[in-house]
């Protein structure tokens, strides 16, 4: 038993395992980089790095099998290997201090990347001059917003994430006087006017815009310059029975309105919104080029930052390499449209400070370690030169 345990411990603390894991991670990064040409950077992250195994379909079937260890797998093993090796071989020596620091930093870096993968949230904020916004929109996720607009002074919004629609189940919540049943869900779709597709099957939808359209399922796209347009059919049922079936889609830019039990409701499938407790108003977007050329010199947005309690109300200039950081959110100049609409990227990453700490530790550790090597080398040469 002890012999068995020793084999086990030796394996997990060995440098050989370290080298194998480093080589695997190098291969993983290389293959993932190549695959970005097909999948785009976001899908590649999900497939290669934020996964235990890289899965691939057996050609001709829908069966996916693991073909390569994924980022979490390699990273996890590397973490175990690092920690185990250091616990097992721990000696408090000056000579080892550099190695210790570098590896402690590395452990922190791996953990930080894990936290970032789990906690980071990104959205886009499209700002037209003069309009105030207090939310960012996801570029990848959508939600079904069910809005009670009865009271003119506020809206009561229930947002259902697309994950719940995908399951094709029935949703019941005390916040709504009806249940929602998803009859069909297409992650990417096109809508065609019904009068242009005379042979199409009758629409499951009988309320709202739905009967006018035929929804066609489309393959999901990963390209950076293309977008997915999900569509769903949802059936609403009240206590007295069926209310109706609606077609909801991000292709429909207007909400669909209906009344039920004296309340006015709106239904809309839209990009998932991330709210923040303050608002941003675009005052002016500028786009400068170098004289006599089209080479962009700078993009900048002058915005007004306001909190509802009136304690913060100031102007901020956001420009290239100079984001606005406020309330745990960071706003970056990401793009523009028509030289007047500014597009900001909004990121919330509570673990943003970890890479700074861990990388400083590693760099310091490497400097100490290689410095010790260098000193030893110089001393040796001096000793070799002295007797001559």
């Amino acid at each position: 038993m002890r012999a068995f345990l020793k084999v086990f411990v030796d394996y997990f603390t060995s440098l050989r395992l370290t080298v194998i894991l480093l080589a695997l991670s190098l291969l993983l990064v290389f293959i993932a980089t190549l695959d970005q040409v097909n999948l785009g950077v976001w899908a590649v992250q999900q497939k290669y790095f934020h996964s235990l195994f890289v899965m691939a379909r057996i050609p001709g079937t829908a069966v996916a099998v693991p073909v390569f260890p994924g980022g979490y797998f390699i990273g996890g093993l590397l973490l175990i290997n690092l920690i185990a090796a250091h616990l097992y071989r721990f000696r408090l020596e000056w000579r080892k201090s550099g190695i210790w620091l570098a590896h402690a930093g590395l452990i922190l870096l791996l953990l930080g990347e894990l936290f970032t993968g789990l906690l980071q949230r990104e959205g886009m904020m499209r700002l037209d001059p003069g309009t105030a916004r207090d939310y960012a929109e996801s570029t990848l996720k959508t939600e079904l917003a069910v809005i009670d607009t009865t009271n003119p002074s506020y809206d009561d919004v229930v947002a259902i994430p697309e994950g719940a629609l995908e399951k094709l189940s029935t949703l019941q919540t005390p916040k709504l006087p009806f249940t929602l049943r998803t009859l069909a869900y297409y992650p990417n779709s096109a809508l065609v006017m019904r009068n242009q597709a005379p042979n199409a099957a009758p629409s499951p939808a009988d309320r709202g815009f739905g009967p006018q359209f035929v929804a066609l399922a489309q393959p999901v796209t990963y390209k950076e310059d293309e977008q997915n347009f999900p569509t769903a059919f949802v059936e609403l049922n009240g206590a007295e029975g069926r209310i109706g079936t609606w077609l909801v889609s991000t292709l429909l830019t207007e909400p669909q309105t209906f009344t039920y039990q004296g309340h006015t409701w709106e239904l809309m499938l839209r990009a998932t919104r991330y709210y923040q407790p303050f608002s941003i108003t675009l005052l002016k977007f500028s786009h400068d080029v170098y004289p006599g050329t089209d080479i962009p010199k700078n993009f900048s947005s002058r915005v007004r930052l306001q909190t509802p309690d009136g304690r913060v109300d100031r102007e901020v200039l956001i420009y290239m390499n100079n984001p606005l950081r406020y309330g745990g959110f960071t706003f970056y100049q990401a793009g523009y449209q028509n030289d007047r609409t500014s597009i900001l990227q909004v990121v919330r990453n509570p673990s943003w400070v970890i890479p700074y700490v861990s990388c400083s530790l590693i760099a310091l550790g490497l400097v100490i370690q290689f410095g010790i090597h260098l000193l030893g080398f110089i001393r040796k040469r001096a000793a070799a030169a002295a007797p001559a």
Partner: protein, 621 residues
């Protein structure tokens, strides 16, 4: 004597380098230097006409030397003067190089008979070229056939040529100065006609027609002109307010008088065409004096830039690097006492020349050393050679000289090919416009590239000397091992720090520390590879030979990160897409794998380690 020979070599080299700073010997009655220093604005940067001349020649024909049809070698500014002011002569200059035989075929010429063509040579096929260009242009750059690439490339060069000709002169005007003087005389009359017509009163039809004729001619200059040659009006020293001659002429109607700087250029052209050096030189002097009052620092910069252009420090560097390698290689067989220090000094001179070149570029641009692919090639070489200078001072065995010379020459050659696409001092795109991050992330990560290459080249020296020669004795082998190990440590530190600084820039600029962008991944792969080498070494998994094999593969890894990731055409760093790079990259990688395969030959077959020949074999590596 043995002591003085290397110093003599150093002295000769210094004299040669000094001589490159002197003005050219070919005497001209025209003040070509003064003209070459005149500043103009193009591609967002104020630069001397000398730079325009040299860069355009590089784009047109891949080299700066030009010989007129009568066999007379022309200085780049002389060539430019003919293009600007004497277009009928310039049209007969064979300065368009065409390599693709199918493209040559478009002009009813037989491929293989000539490579260089004049505008007159190409005139007959311009319509067909334009038709082909319209078909080739929409095709994605990466998938164009060699013919399509040739067509688009030639078309763009011809457009540039036509635009250059329309910078400060009207091509179809027999004497542009005379035409402008006529315009000046007619100005009162045509202004009257214009105002009268605007007010709905009777006006002189002839005068009005003269007006519209002039406007359409100047409009052509405004639309086609390439150089922003006309400085802002007196009193305005905004270095960005320069304009085209055409726009300045169109402004005449608002200002009531012709812009004097346009007149100055027209007068220069007149004097150049009629070969009147006295007038020419006087105009250059007066015009420079005028500019001096407002743009003294810019003129100073232009002056230094023309000296830099003429000295071509990177060209001298290339020659010296080759010389250093040759001397050092010979030193391993014969006269090491003389040749090794001589080779070292030659390498040091080459290093000094490229240091001066890089420093001048930094001063001219007001930027850290690395701003684009071209300057990164220069800097990769500079870092590697700097380390080699240190290694050679420590070990004095010519290994540092050979490695430094090879990398120095190789990187300068790559840089030369990258310079063929135009001005290498470009303006920085918005997101890169940050000296702080260029100075930290880009410089440090480039030092990582340079040192990883150096480790690889040192390892190649070990393998080649050990396998093919008897010169790798135990002392040399151990020294090489320590060098490679030390350089790998250095490379690990710098590639790691550089990658992290890139992450910090990314976090500061667009909110994520790590975005799995191809270039980021490339840098990460270099770090991982260096870490693998070090851990293998520490774990006793490799010894001397294994270390060398892994270090050589570092060349492949670095080349992939440096050039390969740009070829993918995705991500934030997909700048500097270079056609044909892929073939070179694959070829280089294959050569490195071949060297690794050679190193795998059993040690008792290596000439240096073979037990035969009296020397005891070294079984340790």
């Amino acid at each position: 004597m043995k002591k003085f020979l290397p110093l003599l070599v150093l002295l000769l080299g210094l004299v040669y380098l000094g001589s490159t700073l002197l003005p050219p010997r070919t005497k001209s009655d025209f003040d070509l230097r003064g003209f070459g220093r005149l500043p103009i604005l193009v591609n967002g940067r104020l630069k001397p006409l000398d730079t325009v001349a040299r860069n355009t020649l590089l784009v047109f024909q891949g080299k700066q030397d030009f010989t007129a049809p009568d066999g007379q070698p022309l200085q780049p500014v002389e060539w430019l003067l003919d293009v600007l002011f004497n277009p009928t002569v310039a049209d007969s200059y064979q300065h368009f190089v065409i390599y693709n035989p199918e493209v040559v075929g478009l002009f009813n010429k037989q491929a293989g008979t000539q490579e260089y063509f004049s505008f007159n040579d190409l005139r007959g096929g311009l319509a067909e070229l334009e038709r082909q260009e319209r078909m080739a242009e929409p095709v994605d750059e990466g998938v164009r056939t060699p013919f399509q690439r040739g067509v688009v490339d030639l078309y763009q060069r011809l457009i540039l040529y036509q635009r250059l000709k329309a910078s400060v002169n009207l091509e179809d005007s027999p004497d542009f100065l005379a035409e402008l003087l006529k315009f000046q005389q007619a100005l009162p009359a045509i202004s009257t006609a214009f105002l009268a017509k605007e007010a709905g009163k009777p006006y002189n039809n002839q005068d009005y027609k003269t007006l519209t004729d002039f406007v359409s001619r100047f409009q052509y200059l405004s639309d086609s002109g390439y150089l922003l040659a006309i400085p802002p009006a007196p009193g305005n020293s905004d270095p960005n307010a320069w304009q085209k001659a055409g726009d300045a002429l169109l402004a005449t109607f608002r200002q009531g008088a012709i812009n004097p700087d346009v007149m100055a250029y027209a007068a220069l052209g007149h004097a150049w065409r009629l070969k009147q050096p006295k007038d020419f030189n006087e105009i250059v002097r007066l015009y420079t004096g005028q500019l001096m009052k407002r743009f003294a620092p810019q003129l100073q910069r232009c002056r230094i830039e023309t000296v830099f252009n003429r000295a071509q420090p990177f060209y001298s560097g290339m020659i010296f690097y080759v010389l250093a390698v040759l001397l050092a290689l010979v030193s391993w067989m014969k006269w090491p006492d003389v040749l090794q220090p001589a080779a070292f000094w030659v390498m040091a001179l080459a290093f000094a020349a490229s240091t001066a070149g890089i420093a001048t570029r930094m001063w001219l641009e007001g930027r850290p050393p690395v701003t684009n692919l071209y300057s990164s090639a220069l800097f990769v070489g500079w870092v590697a050679v700097a380390l080699c200078v240190i290694l050679e001072r420590i070990y004095r065995n010519a290994i540092g000289t050979v490695a430094g010379g090879m990398i120095g020459f190789g990187t300068l050659l790559i840089a030369h090919h990258l310079s063929l696409s135009g001005d290498t001092m470009e303006m920085m795109r918005a997101v890169l416009d940050s000296n702080y991050w260029l100075a930290t992330h880009v410089v440090v990560v480039t030092m990582g590239y340079g040192s990883t290459y150096l480790a690889g080249f040192l390892a190649i020296i070990y393998i080649v000397r050990g396998l093919f020669t008897r010169s790798l004795d135990k002392g040399t082998a151990d020294a090489l091992t320590r060098m490679v190990y030390g350089i790998v440590c250095f490379a690990t530190l710098f590639s790691f720090s550089g990658t992290v600084l890139g992450g910090i820039w990314a976090d500061q600029s667009w909110g994520r520390f790590w975005g799995w962008d191809p270039k980021e991944n490339g840098a990460l792969i270099i770090v991982l590879w260096n870490a693998i080498i070090l851990h293998c070494r520490w774990g006793g998994m490799i010894r001397q030979r294994g270390l060398m094999m892994l270090a050589v593969f570092g060349n492949v890894v670095t080349s992939w990160s440096y050039f390969g990731t740009n070829l993918l055409g995705v991500g934030l760093h997909s700048y500097g897409f270079t056609q044909g790079t892929f073939t070179w990259l694959v070829g280089f990688a294959a050569s490195q794998v071949l060297i690794i395969a050679l190193a795998a030959i059993p040690l008792d077959k290596w000439r240096s380690f073979r037990p035969a020949g009296g020397k005891p074999g070294l079984a340790t590596p």
